[in-house]
């Protein structure tokens, strides 16, 4: 579904990514793993066109990303950031940033999908716990109906219990057919969630394939 072909990103004279080629298959969760500074987050931002490769191509359904309208790309490829970013005062208003005409029924359905079914729509976002806020961000990313969800260390700012809740949601979404790309420095989490893995080191691909066969992930268990 999403493919990188010989992608390089050079920033301030440093090659953040260098000759990266890999594929993110539809309906699967692919973990992008590797040590800090390996270029994981940059790779993720390329998939949403929040950054542009210096050379090489990024393809969505075999078409280069720049051939799509960039706003359409971002609706088809959603992003959840590292720490929860709330954009409005109430739960419903926050979800409506994605789609102003979102009906309350639809909002409740989305909250149900992320395990927040019991939350009133007029609850103040400021009163949400970290885990609840991150799941609200997941629900907001789903508002625009993406095919792919990019998750940039989505649990790194959360405690263990909250992280488990987010993981459950991600697993359920992938089971429902969504494609997920998960950047994580937590190898155990990557092993638990991912079907496939792309391991980066120093901006280059060190390993790709099924997560179950990964030597890098095996090092964690």
């Amino acid at each position: 579904m999403l493919t990188l072909e010989d992608v390089a990103v050079v920033r301030g004279g440093t090659r953040v990514l260098d000759g990266v080629s890999c594929t993110f298959a539809a309906g699967r969760c692919t973990a992008v793993a590797g040590p800090s500074g390996a270029g994981k987050s940059t790779l993720l931002r390329l998939l949403d066109r929040l950054e542009e490769p210096t050379s090489g191509r990024v393809l969505l359904h075999d078409r280069p990303l720049p051939s799509y309208d960039v706003l359409e790309v971002r609706r088809r490829v959603g992003l959840v950031q590292q720490a929860p970013v709330l954009l409005a005062d109430t739960v419903l208003a926050d979800l409506r940033v994605g789609r102003a005409a979102l009906a309350p029924d639809e909002a409740l359905e989305l909250l149900d999908r992320v395990g927040l079914a019991d939350q009133p729509l007029d609850r103040a976002t400021a009163s949400l716990s970290g885990g609840e806020a991150q799941r609200l961000c997941l629900a907001r990313a789903l508002v625009v109906g993406p095919e792919v969800l990019l998750l940039d260390e989505p649990t790194s700012a959360l405690d263990a219990v909250a992280a488990q809740a987010v993981e459950r949601v991600v697993r359920a979404l992938v089971q429902d057919g969504l494609t997920a790309v998960l950047v994580s420095h937590d190898l155990r989490q990557a092993s638990r969630l991912a079907d496939d893995v792309v391991v980066l080191r120093g901006g280059r691909v060190e390993e790709t394939g099924p997560a179950a066969d990964s030597r890098y992930l095996a090092g964690a268990s």
Partner: protein, 253 residues
Amino acid sequence: MSPSVPSWYGVAASVVLVLVAYAVVVREGLGLGREVLVSAVRAAVQLLAVGALLLLLFRHTGLPGALAWVAAMVVLAGRVAGGRAKGLPGATRVATLGIGAGVAATVGLLLVARVIDTSGRVVVPVGGMVVTGAMQGASLTLQRIRDEAASGRRQVEARLALGLGSREAFAPHLRTALRTALIPAVDGTKVVGVISLPGATVGLLLAGVDPLTAIRYQVVVMYMLLGAAAVAAVVAGRLALRELFDDAHRLRA
């Protein structure tokens, strides 16, 4: 023109006040003695030069000369406001265009509606006040936009990631910037006459104009300052957004 205007002898006598200031800073060891003298001389030279230039302008060039003078002030104000928003791409150009729009709209309206006279004696000082108001509006807007773009980067990117365009993604931040920029002009309009007696009124009163006439002028001045600040802030803000984002709706680094 009026007995209340100081003679050249009076101006010379006021030099005593500079000496008082000099004596104070030297006595207190503030290390500002030289600066006090230099700034006093500088002010006198600058004002004399401006006075001579205005004399030339008023007598010989008419409206085109006055407008050229105002345009030069816009360019200068654009540099000042742009300098305040260092770090924002194209700040000086954006500030100059914003201030220019605010001044053109306000002074243009005043001239077309014949609220003010077309003589240089009127257009230059009125233009100067409008440029100052517009500069404040544009400067505050751009500074705040720069700060919002830095501190609100994650929020902006979260909106962009939802497929919102750059304008929509930055809209709440632009609103904050414009509000911040316009508060001084709005507050100034609120308290005028009660707390502050602005320069235009003071000048007219000193020149012997009766208070009701001076106030009439001041009402026009306040409204035009409000209008100039609003137009300059909005135009500078909108133009700044174009500089802040690239064609692919991405915040420039």
